[in-house]
Structure formats: structure tokens, C-alpha cells
């Protein structure tokens, strides 16, 4: 695994005056599952389109599997697979017909195509539906069909653009099992998502916002390195309390989770529990404060300023 699967430097793409991807540097090792985590409009899809050669960057260098983009884009086609955000196979063709069409587009020899289609239908539990029109499939089946089509030619590198956004949690878990199988077999996978549970499954993550990379690393590392402590506050009057806590300079964000408030306190404050009590109306008897382990969502919130409470003084660095 000498060269990385994807290497990008200074990647920039503008649409008119709007910069969708801004000076992005990426280095994605082979064989891993790499996630792009970011809110809508953070440049996830545009980055994937740049890396697959669908869009031409305004600036920057891209090297995929040792090939330069966009110059060697055609040579790359056989080695990558791409699963679009929107279902992009043909709804008025059957599963069989769709897969055989893709096999012929990639120039698979007849016998090889037949065994691949069989294998994939089997692997993704679609054999029973093979004569069904793709339009009649459920959301989960459709995702599996799209994955089958994207991996038919056994690509070394697989791009998945929000693959499970239209799928229930059960199917999502199932889908990820298939991704781990592929990863285990040596496929490098780049997946974009805005689901925390999905992001947590990746080997590496990059958190994107407004076309820039805010943080990257393993999910574990990101949670450990987060520059805020998480305090759970239990007790009454959450709405008023939330407004009050947000006034404090050291509070990065406050989110209400049912009966609890989840408060992110800047790491530079040494004893967050005492500090909170000292600086607010939190009662000793009425409210319980607990320091808890950060979640990926906390990381996401601190990284993206996306909380409804970005304090002006708190600097964000990654």
C-alpha cells in the first residue's frame, strides 16, 4: 500500500461566484473506508464529483490510483465505481437487464458477466426479484441494486454519495455489512454522509463545512481531540436554562435532548462542572451535572459552527 488511493492538493471548484470546494487537501490510504461528514451544501457531493472526473476542478491536483485527473480520466473509468446519490439505474428495466447492461458497458466478457450478475444478485439478496422492474423495488433493495451495479466490474475504488439517505436504520446496518465485506476484500471506499451512526463506522473521517475540511482522523481520535468538554445537565426549566447558558463565553453549544441539556464547554476551562455552577443559576439541589464522553455529533457541532449558538469569542480550530 505504497501510494494512497486518493491524493488531492488545493482542490477548488467554483460555481459562478460561489465556492463549493475550497483548497481541499486529501490523502486517503488504500483499503480503508473513508467518510465525508458534513451538513447539506458542505461540498461533499461536489468533491466526489471532482474525484470521479464528473466535474473539472478550477484549481488543484488530483491523483487517483496513481492516475492524474482530469488528464487520465478515461483510463480510470474501469477502476472506479460510483454510486450516485439519486438512484440512477433504469426504473423501466428489470434487475437482470440493468446489471447486464452495466456489465456490457464495462466490457465484461459474456461468461464473466453472467457469473458476476449471479454472484451479486445472490450476495445482495436480490435473486428473488431479478425479473422485477427496478422501479418496483423498495428503498433498501434499490440501494443494494445500485451497489451491485457499482461493484459489478470489481473496482479498486468505490465512491458512494450519501448511499443510505433513503433507507431505514435496519437496511442501513445491513448495507454497511456489505461495505465492510468489500473493504475486507481490499476495496477502498469513499462515502459521504450526514448521519452520525454511519460516520462512526468509517475507518477515517473528514468533517467538511462550506467546502473546507474542518477536521480529520479516526472517529475515536476526533472525539478524543475535541476541544470541548461535554456536560449533561438534568433538571427542570431547560428552555430558560438553555438561553441563559448560551450567554456564557465558554459555552460552545447547548442542545436539548428530551429532559436533558447537553452543554459543550470550551476545553480551556479547567473544571467545567464548577465553572458552570458558579456562572449560572443552576441550583445545587435542582440540577445534576455529569461530565460525559463526547459523541461524534459533539465533534461535528464544535467543528462546523453549525449549532444555533456559535459564541463569537470561541475560536474553532481543528
Amino acid at each position: 500500500m505504497s501510494t494512497p488511493a486518493i491524493e488531492a492538493r488545493g482542490l477548488t471548484r467554483r460555481f459562478g461566484s460561489y465556492t463549493a470546494v475550497d483548497q481541499l487537501d486529501l490523502r486517503i490510504p488504500r483499503g480503508c473506508i473513508y467518510g465525508f461528514l458534513g451538513p447539506n451544501g458542505s461540498g461533499k457531493s461536489t468533491t466526489i464529483r471532482l474525484l470521479t472526473g464528473l466535474l473539472t476542478p478550477n484549481a488543484g491536483h488530483i491523483n487517483i490510483l496513481g492516475l492524474e485527473l482530469p488528464r487520465q480520466a478515461e483510463a480510470l473509468r474501469h477502476r472506479i465505481g460510483y454510486m450516485t446519490q439519486k438512484f440512477s439505474l433504469y426504473g423501466d428495466l428489470t434487475l437482470d437487464e440493468n446489471l447486464r447492461f452495466i456489465a456490457r458497458i464495462y466490457g465484461l466478457p459474456r461468461a464473466r458477466a453472467r457469473t458476476r450478475v449471479e454472484t451479486l444478485l445472490q450476495r445482495y439478496g436480490l435473486t428473488r426479484h431479478r425479473r422485477q422492474l427496478a422501479d418496483t423495488l423498495s428503498g433498501g433493495q434499490r440501494q443494494r441494486l445500485a451497489l451491485a451495479a457499482a461493484t459489478l466490474h470489481e473496482p479498486e475504488l468505490l465512491f458512494l454519495d450519501e448511499p443510505t439517505s433513503a433507507v431505514d436504520p435496519e437496511n442501513r446496518r445491513d448495507f454497511w455489512e456489505k461495505l465492510f465485506d468489500l473493504s475486507d476484500a481490499g476495496t477502498t471506499i469513499l462515502v459521504s454522509t450526514h448521519y452520525m451512526d454511519e460516520a462512526e463506522r468509517c475507518h477515517y473521517l473528514a468533517i467538511l463545512e462550506a467546502g473546507r475540511k474542518r477536521a480529520d482522523g479516526t472517529p475515536q481520535q476526533l472525539m478524543e481531540d475535541m476541544n470541548a468538554n461535554v456536560v449533561e445537565v438534568q433538571g427542570g426549566g431547560q428552555r430558560q436554562l438553555k438561553t441563559e447558558l448560551l450567554q456564557l463565553q465558554g459555552v460552545r453549544s447547548v442542545a436539548q435532548l428530551g429532559e436533558q441539556l447537553r452543554v459543550l464547554v470550551d476545553k480551556r476551562i479547567d473544571a467545567p462542572l464548577d465553572w458552570l455552577r458558579a456562572n449560572s443559576s443552576l441550583g445545587k439541589d435542582t440540577h445534576t451535572l455529569t461530565l460525559v464522553r463526547p459523541s461524534l455529533e459533539d465533534v461535528f457541532v464544535t467543528c462546523t459552527n453549525n449549532a444555533d449558538s456559535a459564541p463569537p469569542a470561541a475560536p474553532v480550530d481543528s
Binding site: 450516485t84 440512477s88 433504469y90 458497458i105
Partner: protein, 368 residues
Amino acid sequence: MAWLMRISAIMGKELRHLSRDRLTFGMVVMLPLLQLLLFGYAINNNVRDIPVGVVDLAQNSDSRALIAAVKATQVVNLSAAYAGIIDAERAITRGEVRAVLVLPADLAQRLHQPTRTQPAGQWLIDGSDNVIASALLSLRDMPLALRPGLPQVRAIPSFETVLYFNPERRTPVNIVPGLIAVILTMTMILFTATAIVRERERGNLELLITTPVSSLELMLGKIAPYILIGLLQMAIILGLGHVAFDVPINGSLLAIVGATLLFIAASLTLGLMISTSAKTQLQATQMTVFILLPSILLSGFMFPFEGMPAPAQWIAEVLPATHFVRMIRGVVLRDASLADMPLDTVFLCLFTGVGLVAATLKFRKSLD
């Protein structure tokens, strides 16, 4: 009054949609303009300057005077002279002229008899277009007062007339072959125009672009099936026209299929060009209408080409349908070969070649 507010809310929204979709808004203005101009120019059954030839076997002052008199009617434009009948008939078959005036060697004798007992000459008329034929037939009884004092004879027409290809002057004979041009324009352009746009709209294109398929491969693969559909349509129209309306099929099958294939290719190319600039299927359909209208009105299908003013004829010459209407009528009715109509054949070939290159260049394999 709540209902009035709801209706006006929907009205306001609808007008906003319209103003955002510039092409549809353009259609609102352009369609009446286009129709008015096309109909105003194209509908002209009072045909003038029909191209005709002459075979002057007399070659004397009488024949020259007679030719001058025919010219003076302004119905015809004497554009060619032929040595004999054979050459003249060939010229009609090739579509160079619509009729030939044959003046016999004994013209002087016929004209100067005290009472004329014979027509002065003969018109050989291409009867495949009724409007043209009617205009020419009106010359049959034109007065032959070449010199004052010569008696007019009402009983005997000035010219004998022979209608080729459609002696009974039946309308379907002219309409049916032309209909192939209209139907093919409609389906071929529309099918291809929407075919690629549909892939783009449904998101299929985003997947196809990341595969090894090249632009040209995609285009060729998409249009090839429609060639068969076009041939099928041609067979239906001609077959039914022959059986139900007794339209003669004088040309060879090879020439008919050849001409049709050329036109299908040109129409499919036109459809591809539309598909590379249209963003939605609705837009592609609207653009097709812009091509279809002049193809029906200006191509010579409904109104004779000769009846239109020069600017309308220039527009018509750019449309593949005009050339095909000429070709298919020539082949089906007059048994012309493609070699007899080299200009039309070459035009369709060039149109296809240039159009295919333009469409492929315009359709870049990316989403930029």
C-alpha cells in the same frame, strides 16, 4: 372570498413559473409570430415563376414570339431549353423543371391557317403537385394573339397538355410521399431530442459518465434503434397509401430506402443537436415544434415551394425536410434515382456529418 384568494395565489405562482422558464415564455411570443410569418408567406396558391423548359423545334420568329408571350404571363419562368423530347422528359423526372413546352416544327403553318385546326404546341406537365399543375393548365387557353388580325378560335385550345405521373390529378398522390417527411420529422427529432435529455433528467447520465462509454458511442447507440422505427413508419405510410389511396410507387425500393435513410440520419442529428442544448424534456419538445412547423409549411409538403417568396425559400432550403420532400416525390412518383437529385442528396449527407460533429463536440462528457 377565501376561494378567490386561493385561486389568485395559484395564478401568481403560475405566472412566476412562466417568467422563470425563458424558453416557454419565448414560445408565448414566438409561436404567433412564427405562425403568422410562415402562413402569410407560405400560403400562396397563386403560383408564379414556375420553372419550365422549352423544346423549340421550329426555331423561327413565330416560336420566339410565342415563347415571349408565354413568358409575359409570368406564370412560368423559362429556365432551360432542350434539344428533344427525351431530354425534356428526363429534366422533368429529375425535378429540374415542372413542365416543358414543346413547339413543333410546323408551328408557322399551325399559327397562320385562316382558321386554326390544331393546338399550337404541347405542354408536358409534371402532375405530381396539383397546385403547380393547375397553374400550368391555365395556360392551355391563353390567347395566341401574336399578331393583330389573327383570328381567335375558341373551340380549339391554344396548347395540348399532357399530365405526367398523376393524370387524374388526385391529391393523395402528392400528399402521401410528402407525409413521410412530416411524420419522420416529428418522430425522429422528438425521439432523439428527448432521449438524451431524459437520461440527464432522471440522473442516468451521471452514472453513464463515470463508465467507459464515450460521447460518440452513447450518441450512436441512442439513435441507432430509431433508424429502424423510421423505416417502419415509412413502410406503413407508403404501404397504406398504395393500398388505400392507390398512390403509385414508381421508384425502386433501393432508392426509396436510400432517400429515407438519408433523411432519418439528418433528422436524428437535428434531434441530437436539440438534446445537447435542452435542459428538460419539455424544452426539447418545444424546440422540436420550432423545427416541425416550418418543416410542414415551408418544405413544399402543403404549399408549393415555387409559390413562396425568396426569403421563405432560403429558410426552406436549410431544412432537411424540404430536400427530402423533393427527393421522395421524385423517387416515388417520377422514378428518379438519387443521382438525379445530387444537390438534395449531398445536402442531407453534409447536414448529417456537420451536425453529428457539432453535437458530439457540444455534448461534453461531464457535468460542468
